[in-house]
C-alpha cells in the first residue's frame, strides 16, 4: 500500500559489499529486504542507489528469488523469479526467468512479467518459445470470482 513507501527499508544478509563511491551495494546469502509490507528474499541482492534515497533499484537473484507485498486494498501480491528488479521510484517490479506472480488468486506464469503496483497493471510475455515453454499461463480460481464480485459491490456503493 502507499504508506509502505514511507517506511524505512531494512536489509539483512550474511555478507555485504558496499561501494560508497558509486553508491551500489551487494548483499549475499539469505538476503532479506523489508519495507512496510514489502518483503524480498533472495540469494543475492544488488542495490543501486546512485539517484539517491527513495529512487533505489533493487535487483534480487535467486533460485528463485521471492517478493510479496499487500496492495492498496489489502489484497496480497507475491511473486518469484530467477531475477526480480524492483524500482522504488516508479513502483514497478519486473521478473525474468520462469517468473510467477500471484495476485488475489489469479496466478500468472511466464518468461518475463512486469507489474506496476500503482496502476496494478501486469504485462507478461512468453518469449514465444518453440514448443510453448515460452508461453504465459494464467489460472483464475473460483475465489477470485466471489471476491471480485464483492469488490464490485463496494465499488458500486462507494
Amino acid at each position: 500500500s502507499e504508506d509502505d513507501f514511507s517506511q524505512p527499508i531494512k536489509i539483512g544478509s550474511n555478507t555485504q559489499f558496499i561501494d560508497g563511491k558509486n553508491k551500489t551495494a551487494l548483499y549475499k546469502e539469505d538476503v532479506l529486504i523489508t519495507q512496510g509490507s514489502l518483503v524480498i528474499k533472495a540469494d543475492e541482492v544488488e542495490v543501486i542507489a546512485t539517484d539517491g534515497s527513495g529512487r533505489e533499484i533493487f535487483i534480487a537473484r535467486g533460485k528463485p528469488a521471492s517478493y510479496s507485498q499487500s496492495l492498496e486494498d489489502g489484497t496480497p501480491v507475491s511473486a518469484k523469479a530467477n531475477e526480480i528488479r524492483y524500482e522504488v521510484v516508479n513502483r514497478t517490479i519486473s521478473l525474468a526467468g520462469s517468473a510467477e506472480l500471484q495476485q488475489d488468486t489469479s496466478k500468472v506464469q511466464g518468461d518475463k512479467i512486469t507489474f506496476d503496483m500503482i496502476t496494478e497493471q501486469l504485462l507478461a510475455t512468453g518469449g514465444a518459445g518453440k514448443n510453448g515453454e515460452g508461453r504465459v499461463t494464467t489460472v483464475f480460481t473460483p475465489e477470485t470470482i466471489r471476491k471480485t464480485s464483492s469488490k464490485k459491490d463496494n465499488k458500486d456503493n462507494e
Binding site: Q103, D104, T119, E120, V139, I145
Partner: protein
C-alpha cells in the same frame, strides 16, 4: 448339437460406419480444469487491476467443461466473462466448433458462437450454423443450421433448419422448419423434426424409417424419445401408412435396482384397408424382477385385436407365421434345495382353435437333496387347474406327486444312474358328461430306470489335423407300470418329438396326463472330433429304443418292436463349410419319418450360401417336404444382395421367395426388396387360406450413423424365413 458358427452375431450389419474414412471426434475430459478454474495460456498476457486480462498469440483457454483456442482473447471480471476472436475452436463433451468469435458469460452460464462449423463428439455428425448458443438449462441451440452424418465434403444428404436444439440430458435433437436435401436437391419439408443425437441408451431404431410395401403402402415411422428419468424412458413412434392410416406405437421402459421391464402398445384407429374400418391394437407387458430376496416375478403378457394383425402390420416380437401369443405370469422361489414355481399360463391363439387349454394356475414344487453318501432324493410335485376357452370342454384340477430315489454315480469317464420313482396323480374333472372321462380319477404308477454311459477318447488325426476323438456309448433300461388312463382327458399332454436327444428321456408325452407304460432298452452312441480348443468339428449320434413288450397306453401308434432309428450329424469341414443332418428311420419298413439336411458355405455373416431340405412324413396330418436355398453376398464394397427361396415339394410351390439389394454408403443406405410369400391371412371364420399368395416390392431408405448403429432389421432377418424372434426366458 452345438453350432459354433465363426461369428454367431445375429444381425450381420457391418461395422456401423465401416464405409466412412472419417473418424468421429473424440474428447478426453482429462484435459479439463477442476470445477470453477479457468487456465489461459498465451504468448502475451496483460492484466489490468486484476479485472481485465488481454491475451494474444495462440491463446488456449481451458475451463472445467471446455477447451477453447483462439488467436486473441479478453477475460474480464477475472475469469467470469470471456471473449475470444480469430479462428476460434471450441470443444466440449458434446461438440467441437470452429467459429469467428466466442463470448462466454459464466454468471448466466451462457456461451455464444458466431458463424460456425461444428462436429458432434462421439459419432460422425457435422454441419454449419450461423449462431450457436450453449446454455446450462436449455442445452445447445443452433440457429440457421445445417446437419448431416455424412463426412465433410461427402454430404450426400443434409438437413437445413432454422433452429436445432439439443436439450440438456436428453439424447434427442429437435429441429424447426427443416428442409431435407439429397445431393443439394430439397426433397421435403417438415415443420418439426426430431432425431437422436447420441447412442447412449437407445436400443433399436430411433431413426425415421421410410419403406413402402403392398400391405401398408408408403410406411413412415418417426420415433420420439423422451428421457423421463435416468431409469425410465418412453419412445412414442407415430407410423403413417398410406393404405391404413396413422398408427401410434408407444414403448415405456423402466429399470430399477431389483426389476426391469417394458410396456408396449400399438394402436391403429379405423384401419382404412379393411371393410368396416375396425380399430386394431397389439399390446405387450414384459417384466422381470425380485419381489423379495429369493422371489422372482416374471410377466410376458401379450394381446392383439384380430387374427390378421401380425400378417398385416408386422411386429418386433412375433413372426407372421406364429400361431399364439403368450399371456404368462409367473412367481418363483429359489433356494439351494427347494424351488417353487407358480404360473398362470394363458395364450391368445390365432385362428379358430376354439378349444385350447390353459393352466390357471400351475404350481410346481421341487425338493432335491443328497441322501446319505450315494443317494439323491428328488420330489417333484404339482397342482394345476386346467380350464378351456370353450365352456363345454372338460376342465380339471390335478394333484401330482413324484418322489424319486436315485443313486447317481458320476465321473469324468462315465455316468451310471439307478432311479426308482413313484407317480401318484389325482384328478377332479368337470364337464365330463357324454365323454368317457370320469369325475374323480386316481392313478398310481411306478418307474425304474437304469442308465449307463462310458466316455472313451483317443488322439487321432482327422484330415491332417490332430484331434481328440471321443466315443460315448449309452444304454438305458426303463420299466413303467401300466394303468388304463382313458378316463383322463388330454390337458397338457401331447406326444414328444423323439429325436436323438429325446430317446433317453424316458418320457413319451409332455405334461402328466399320459404316462405310457414302458419295458424297453434304449441303445445309443455319440462320437465327437474335438480340436485342440475342445470345439466340436464333427459329432455323430445314433440311437434306438427296443420295446421288450407291446405297450398298452398308446397301442395304436406303436406296433413295431423298436422305435425309429434316430441319428444326427454335425460336421464342420473347415472354417467355411458346415454340414448338418438329422434323420429318423422306421427300421422295419425303412421308411424315413423325419429328415433334415443342411449344407452351408459361410465366409462371414454377410457372405454365405445355405442349402437345406426338410422332410416330415406326418406332422399333425400334414407332410412337410421342403427345400430351401438362402444366400447373401456383397457385390462390391457398398452393394450387397440377399436372396432366399423355400419351396414346398409336396405341393410343388414356393413358400417364400425373397430378393433384396442394398446400397450402403457412409451415412445412408437404400434397400430394394421384392418378396412373394404364402399369405396366411385368416378369413372371417378364422380359417387360413392355403393357396393365397402375397407379393410386394418395398423400398426402404435409411439414414445411417445417427443414434442407431445400422439398420434395425437387416435383410437377413426380414421376411418369413429370415426372422428370429426373441423369446422372453423365465
Amino acid at each position: 448339437q452345438e453350432t459354433t458358427a465363426s461369428n454367431s452375431q445375429l444381425t450381420p450389419n457391418a461395422a456401423p460406419l465401416a464405409f466412412c474414412s472419417v473418424e468421429p471426434v473424440t474428447f478426453s475430459s482429462q484435459a479439463l480444469m477442476p470445477k470453477g478454474h479457468v487456465k489461459v495460456e498465451a504468448n502475451r498476457t496483460e492484466i489490468i487491476q486484476d479485472t481485465v486480462a488481454l491475451f494474444s498469440g495462440n491463446v488456449d483457454i481451458t475451463s472445467d467443461t471446455a477447451v477453447i483456442s483462439a488467436s486473441q482473447a479478453q477475460v474480464n471480471g477475472s475469469g467470469r466473462d470471456l471473449i475470444a476472436k480469430g479462428d476460434v475452436t471450441y470443444q466440449d463433451a458434446q461438440l467441437k466448433v470452429e467459429s469467428d468469435a466466442v463470448t462466454l458469460r459464466s454468471e448466466e452460464e451462457r456461451l455464444e458462437m458466431q458463424n460456425t462449423r461444428y462436429k458432434l463428439t462421439g459419432f460422425v455428425g457435422q454441419g454449419a450454423a450461423k449462431d450457436i448458443v450453449l446454455d446450462t438449462d436449455t442445452g445447445i441451440v443452433l440457429k440457421e443450421v445445417s446437419f448431416t452424418t455424412c463426412p465433410e465434403g461427402g454430404e450426400d444428404w443434409m438437413i437445413r433448419a432454422s433452429e436445432i436444439s439439443l436439450e440438456k440430458g436428453t439424447v434427442w435433437g429437435k429441429a424447426k422448419h427443416t428442409r431435407f436435401y439429397i445431393a443439394d436437391v430439397p426433397v421435403f419439408y417438415l415443420p418439426y423434426f426430431a432425431f437422436p443425437v447420441s447412442n447412449e441408451r437407445q436400443t433399436g431404431l430411433l431413426f425415421p424409417e421410410l419403406t413402402s410395401s403392398s400391405r401398408t403402402g408408403v410406411d413412415y415411422t418417426q420415433p420420439f424419445y423422451w428421457n423421463i428419468a435416468p431409469n425410465y424412458d418412453m419412445t412414442i413412434s407415430p407410423r403413417l401408412m398410406t393404405l391404413r392410416g396413422v398408427q401410434l406405437n408407444t414403448e415405456f421402459r423402466y429399470l430399477t435396482e431389483r426389476s426391469q421391464g417394458k410396456a408396449y402398445v400399438e394402436y391403429l384407429p379405423s384401419d382404412s384397408d379393411i371393410a368396416g374400418n375396425p380399430d386394431r391394437y397389439f399390446y405387450r407387458l414384459e417384466h422381470q424382477g425380485l419381489v423379495a430376496d429369493n422371489w422372482l416375478l416374471n410377466i410376458d403378457f401379450n394381446g392383439l385385436s384380430d387374427n390378421n394383425y401380425l400378417v398385416d402390420l408386422g411386429s418386433d416380437y412375433y413372426s407372421r407365421a406364429d400361431t399364439h401369443l403368450y399371456r404368462n405370469i409367473g412367481l418363483s422361489y429359489y433356494s439351494q434345495n427347494l424351488s417353487v414355481n407358480m404360473q398362470i399360463k394363458d395364450f391368445e391363439v390365432l385362428g379358430n382353435t376354439a378349444d385350447s387349454y390353459r393352466a390357471v394356475p400351475e404350481i410346481k414344487v421341487n425338493y432335491n437333496r443328497a441322501f446319505g453318501e450315494y443317494f439323491e432324493f428328488n420330489l417333484d410335485s404339482e397342482v394345476a387347474h386346467f380350464d378351456n376357452t370353450l365352456e363345454t370342454a372338460p376342465t380339471a384340477t390335478r394333484f401330482h406327486i413324484a418322489p424319486t430315489l436315485a443313486m447317481p454315480f458320476r465321473a469324468a469317464w462315465g455316468e451310471f444312474v439307478a432311479e426308482t420313482s413313484l407317480f401318484q396323480t389325482v384328478y377332479q374333472q368337470d364337464n365330463v358328461e357324454g365323454t368317457n372321462l370320469k369325475k374323480d380319477v386316481e392313478r398310481t404308477l411306478g418307474q425304474a430306470r437304469l442308465y449307463g454311459a462310458l466316455y472313451f477318447e483317443r488322439d487321432t488325426s482327422w484330415f491332417s489335423d490332430d484331434m481328440s476323438m471321443t466315443l460315448e456309448p449309452k444304454v438305458q433300461y426303463l420299466y413303467t407300470s401300466y394303468e388304463d388312463q382313458t378316463a383322463i382327458g388330454f390337458y397338457d399332454s401331447t406326444p414328444l418329438l423323439t429325436d436323438v436327444e429325446g430317446l433317453f428321456r424316458g418320457q413319451e408325452f409332455t405334461g402328466l396326463d399320459r404316462i405310457s407304460d414302458n419295458n424297453q432298452i434304449t441303445l445309443g452312441a455319440t462320437t465327437r472330433m474335438l480340436d485342440k480348443n475342445n470345439r466340436e468339428q464333427f459329432v455323430l449320434s445314433v440311437g434306438q429304443i427296443f420295446y421288450l413288450e407291446d405297450n398298452k397306453v398308446i397301442a395304436a401308434t406303436k406296433n413295431q418292436d423298436r422305435s425309429a432309428l434316430a441319428a444326427e450329424v454335425d460336421w464342420r469341414f473347415n472354417n467355411n463349410w458346415f454340414f448338418h443332418s438329422d434323420v429318423q428311420v422306421t427300421t422295419d419298413t425303412d421308411k424315413v419319418d423325419l429328415s433334415s439336411v443342411g449344407i452351408e458355405y459361410r465366409r462371414d455373416d454377410a457372405r454365405f450360401i445355405q442349402l437345406s431340405h426338410r422332410y416330415v412324413r406326418d406332422l399333425s396330418g400334414e407332410t412337410i417336404d421342403q427345400i430351401g436355398i438362402s444366400a447373401s453376398w456383397p457385390i462390391s464394397e457398398n452393394w450387397q444382395w440377399v436372396g432366399r427361396t423355400y419351396r414346398d415339394l409336396e405341393r410343388n410351390r414356393s413358400v417364400e421367395t425373397y430378393a433384396g439389394i442394398q446400397y450402403e454408403s457412409c451415412c445412408w443406405a437404400v434397400r430394394l426388396v421384392a418378396q412373394r410369400s404364402l399369405n396366411n391371412r385368416y378369413n372371417d371364420s378364422g380359417v387360413q387360406t392355403t393357396d393365397d399368395f402375397d407379393s410386394g416390392v418395398s423400398l426402404q431408405f435409411i439414414f445411417k450413423g445417427i443414434g442407431s448403429s445400422g439398420t434395425r432389421r437387416s435383410m437377413l432377418q426380414d421376411g418369413m424365413f429370415g426372422y428370429r424372434q426373441p423369446y422372453s426366458l423365465n
